[in-house]
């Protein structure tokens, strides 16, 4: 094999010559741009990146990235990526998936890649709708959603992707928004640096079938008043006009006015490295009246799956340096049949 590319890479190096075919105005464009900006900054040779996707609008992603890419089948990207990463731990493997792909048809693989802590990054573009099949409700669609397949409104309770990930034992969980470029890039950098499975939910606007699904976050006043940016070691604060914070009150969390609280001593100090995922879960599932947290919900160190698998194989290889095929087939009881003596 030839040597690694060592030249400094730029965003252009990661743009493929395939024409990008998402609908104009789709949030996927912003995510693509962020990824193409972050990848060259990671110090990883281009040929070491692999993007694995499933099926859906988001899963066209690999075609637009000038890296190795594998557009697999519906829901199965985490499984393909697991096999790839186990056999090639040297690669930087990124799974791109959507809410239907990861949480419906691929729900099983999604939770298992997380509980195993395979060293892959999972970017879930959540637009709360099926786009590619032209507008059916998805497992993250809200109750009451009217779509082609729910003309009277959906009665299915939705999944909260972060809660599912935390429940599955994910070691890195984060959330960002397609058009919040600086924030998205910083979250992607954090994900890249995490050794195990890094899960990032990205709110993604589908302007064709589910426009403004995340207005409560992206709309101008919401951005400043309704978004809580998680900062490790800092108190949970939000709101520009009227600064507020999150405090603990008995068994639950409450929103408090910072002006009244004075020095903010009663506010919850954010710690993304807590051994228990309980607080992250509470923040991931905050209800009405609370802000929407963005940033890193959890980042804890844990053994990486492929490292453990490979360590077992290597230890066995080292313990039996002379393991030959001869030994393999001749292990066990053997006997000789002599040739004709005459």
């Amino acid at each position: 094999m030839s040597t690694e590319t060592t030249t400094t890479l730029s965003k252009k190096d990661f743009q493929s010559d395939d024409e990008v075919r998402w609908c104009p105005g789709c949030g996927d464009y912003a995510i693509l741009s962020a990824v193409q900006t972050v990848f060259p900054s990671l110090g990883i040779p281009r040929e070491k990146f692999v993007i694995v996707s499933g099926i859906g609008c988001s899963s066209r992603f690999p075609y637009y990235m000038n890296t190795y890419g594998f557009h697999t089948i519906h829901g199965r990207a985490p499984a393909v990526a697991t096999g790839l990463k186990m056999s090639r731990p040297d690669l930087s493997v990124w799974v791109v998936t959507g809410d239907g792909d990861a949480l419906s048809i691929g729900g099983n693989h999604f939770m298992h890649v997380l509980r195993r802590n395979v060293g892959v990054k999972v970017l879930l573009f959540n637009n709360r709708i099926y786009g590619l099949t032209k507008g059916q409700y998805s497992p993250t669609s809200e109750v009451g959603k009217r779509t082609k397949s729910t003309p009277l409104g959906s009665v299915d309770a939705p999944f909260n992707p972060l809660a599912v990930a935390l429940g599955a034992g994910a070691t890195f969980v984060a959330r960002s928004v397609d058009i919040f470029q600086p924030h998205l890039k910083s979250v992607l950098e954090r994900a890249a640096a995490h050794p195990g499975t890094a899960f990032v939910e990205i709110y993604q606007n589908c302007n064709i079938f589910n426009d403004k699904a995340f207005e409560n976050v992206t709309e101008k006043s919401a951005r400043s008043e309704n978004v809580l940016y998680l900062e490790h070691g800092e108190p949970l604060l939000f709101g520009k006009e009227s600064p507020r914070g999150i405090a603990r009150s008995g068994n639950s969390l409450e929103v408090v006015d910072v002006a009244e609280d004075g020095d903010g001593a009663g506010l919850v100090q954010w710690d993304e490295r807590l051994p228990s995922a309980a607080l992250a879960f509470e923040l991931a599932t905050l209800g009405p009246g609370f802000p929407v947290p963005l940033g890193v919900f959890r980042d804890v160190a844990a053994p990486v799956y492929e490292d453990a698998v490979i360590a077992q194989v290597r230890a066995q290889e080292e313990a039996h340096p002379d393991a030959t095929l001869e030994q393999l087939i001749r292990g066990g009881d053997t006997w000789q049949v002599a040739g004709p003596t005459s």
Binding site: M1, S2, T3, E4, T5, D18, P45, R46, E47, K48, V52, P62, Y63, N66, Y68, G69, F70, H71, T72, I73, R76, A79, V80, T82, G83, L84, K85, M86, S87, R88, D90, L91, N108, H109, H112, V309, I310, Q312, V313, A315, Q316, E317, A319, H320, A323, T324, L325, E326, L328, I329, R330, G332, D333, T334, W335, Q336, V337, A338, G339, P340
Partner: protein
């Protein structure tokens, strides 16, 4: 002289002899079939395997047929709880585990009743009388004691209080009664060892190794084994002892091997010979799990095993590993293969090497998990959306799984294609002596990855094989995208062009058709120039067909046989060979799946002979069909 009730003689090689006055008659037999039957908790599989291994080391040819109950532990003493192990040993080259047992060891009434129908008049029954009581008669659905009511008068019945004598042998032991009783299968084994003049050493060594950490258990088992042997030696329960000489097998080193073990070893050998690390993605399923179990112990050979969350993840992980440059393999049975079909199609589309092993069992649906069948042939050939051909190869016998694994890997890597390897429960769990190959005689499977950006396009093709280049991530300058969407010829870009789709569909088919370049011509055993009747087989029917055809030819009947190893593509001369015979008889353990294909391909009225009982054909069944076909063509 007593009648040789517990074995078959052949020709003039019978040599009865009397050593001294006390000793029983020792008689040489050529071929014997023994079936050990008991409760699933009675350790019958272990007993049978021990008898097999000892006989293997003695140099007999042998063939085994385990028969597991579907339930792990059905209620003790009932018919669904019966577990059996049949072993045939011979002093010559045999092909099947035998049609009917010469000796049935019945550890309880249910085991007797469940197997009685397979016995011939004059077969021997060794029964553990301790278990023949009212409670067990009721459980087995019996009115009275079959040992006493005359219903077994056609057979030679030998009785022994096996449980009582086991306890007696362990009188001095501190073990509890339950643990003592668990040794009783070794008593029965000791008896059968005596009857067939087998040494105990092999089993003694094995017990010592197996219970290394619990020497008291090893000691108890050994004591009981010897007690069983001594019981026969002292009581003269049997007046005749038998000997089965070494078989005149081809010279070489042998070991006894199960199909699934041979498959696992074959995959490791293919990995070593190709220089590609082996990656197995699997999900537990009967009767394929042993391949996963065995490969999990071969980490020293650089093998990675992945027990996935489901069948789909298992094959997808293998595809991911192949994409990364490993030897991706998945292993399952029919229901699992059904789940894998979409991913197999992905491998067809992205043209990556992959080996999919299907250890067939009775279907449809959950079907008969522990029983054998050949009914996945059409599933693996056609059970995917779109025009999606894949090469299919089938193992014929336990040791053949080794070679077939190498072949499957050779084709998968040379042609960049998923290959299906068919085995079945009969081969997987059955065993036979395997003449070990010389490592340097194994095929050279070395392969190389493309690494030159100047000459690279993802879907350019090799002239001979039509394989596309294997370009693995990490190679500078070869960054490219693959996926399940239709690809443009040569460039591999996504393409919806109608002409391109037709071209690519034909290219994928042509690539699989070209595998025929690596498929040897079909060989006819018997009359190569043709004749009245050809018996054609595939997969595990080889043994019964070979036995029946050899016998028929010895009797001067005009019948030949041939065996198909590749089911897709067929050998180039298949049509021509079939046309040389007036009639073609095709036995299959399904409703005639290959027959349907051959009729369609060659417009020949193949005579389909089917059996769908979850059991392999007996030689006799094939013999009867041969006679029927020959008779019909003469009348």
């Amino acid at each position: 002289m007593s009648l040789p009730v517990a074995g078959h003689e052949r020709g003039g090689d019978q040599s009865p002899e009397r050593s001294d006055a006390k000793a029983p008659t020792v008689q040489r037999v050529s071929d014997v079939v023994i079936r050990f039957a008991g409760d699933s908790g009675d350790g019958m599989q272990l007993t049978g395997s021990q008898f097999t291994n000892t006989s293997a080391v003695l140099g007999n040819d042998l063939s085994t047929l385990p028969d597991f109950p579907a339930e792990i532990r059905a209620p003790a003493g009932t018919l669904p709880g019966v577990s059996a192990f049949q072993v045939r040993i011979a002093d010559y080259d045999i092909h099947t585990p035998g049609d009917t047992p010469d000796v049935l060891v019945a550890m309880n009434p249910a085991a007797l009743i469940a197997n009685l129908g397979d016995l011939q008049p004059n077969s021997a029954i060794i029964a553990n009388t301790d278990e023949f009581n009212e409670r067990n008669f009721k459980k087995a659905g019996l009115e009275g004691n079959p040992l006493e009511d005359g219903s077994l008068s056609a057979f030679r019945v030998f009785t022994a209080d096996i449980t009582t004598m086991t306890r007696k042998a362990l009188e001095d032991s501190d073990l509890d009664v339950r643990t003592k009783d668990r040794c009783k299968n070794l008593f029965a084994l000791g008896m059968v060892y005596w009857l067939y003049s087998r040494p105990l050493e092999n089993t003694v060594d094995w017990l010592q190794l197996k219970f290394k950490r619990r020497p008291e258990i090893a000691e108890a088992n050994i004591k009981v084994l010897k007690a069983g042997w001594n019981f026969c030696d002292i009581t003269q329960l049997f007046q005749v002892r038998y000997e089965v000489e070494k078989a005149a097998l081809e010279p070489g080193t042998y070991r006894n091997i199960h199909g699934n073990s041979a498959l696992a070893m074959g995959l490791v050998a293919a990995s070593r010979r190709s220089g590609l690390p082996l990656f197995l993605g699997a999900y537990p399923i009967t009767p394929a799990s042993d391949v996963l179990h065995e490969l999990a112990t071969y980490k020293r050979y650089g093998v990675t095993t992945f027990q996935a969350e489901d069948e789909i993840a298992a094959v997808c992980a293998a595809i991911g590993a192949s994409f990364g440059g490993a030897l991706g393999v998945t292993c399952s049975s029919g229901p699992g293969i059904a789940l894998k079909s979409e991913a197999m199609n992905l491998a067809v589309m992205v043209e990556l090497p992959l080996v999919v092993c299907d250890i067939q069992r009775g279907g449809p649906s959950t079907g008969l998990p522990t029983k054998t069948e050949q009914s996945d042939l059409l599933q693996v050939l056609f059970g995917r959306n779109g025009d999606s051909p894949v090469p299919v190869i089938a193992a014929a016998r336990p040791s053949d799984c080794f070679e077939v694994a190498l072949e499957a890997v050779r084709i998968a890597t040379r042609y960049m294609v998923p290959v299906v390897l068919l085995s079945d429960g009969y081969i997987a769990n059955g065993s036979e002596p395997w003449r070990l190959p010389e490592i340097e005689d194994l095929p050279d499977l070395r392969t190389s990855f493309h690494d030159d950006p100047e000459t690279f396009l993802p879907y350019m093709r090799d002239e001979r094989t039509l394989a596309r280049p294997w370009a693995i991530p990490g190679t500078p300058g070869l960054e490219h995208r693959i996926g399940g969407l239709e690809k443009a010829d040569v460039t591999g870009k996504v393409s919806y062009d109608p002409h391109n789709h037709e071209r690519m569909t034909r290219l994928r088919a042509e690539k699989v058709a070209r595998v025929v370049q690596d498929v040897p011509d079909l060989e006819v055993h018997g009359d190569p120039d043709g004749g009245e009747l050809l018996v054609l087989g595939w997969g595990s029917t080889l043994g019964a067909i070979t036995g029946a055809v050899n016998q028929a030819r010895e009797q001067g009947k005009p019948v030949s046989r041939a065996h198909l190893r590749w089911l897709n593509p067929f050998p180039a001369n298949l049509g021509e060979v079939l046309a040389r015979f007036d009639k073609v008889l095709l036995p299959e353990m399904n409703m005639g799946q290959l027959a349907l294909l051959l009729r369609g391909h060659f417009l020949i009225d193949v005579q389909s002979y089917t059996k769908i009982e979850g059991k392999p054909f007996t030689r006799q069944e094939i013999s009867d069909q041969i006679d029927r076909q020959l008779g019909a063509s003469r009348s």
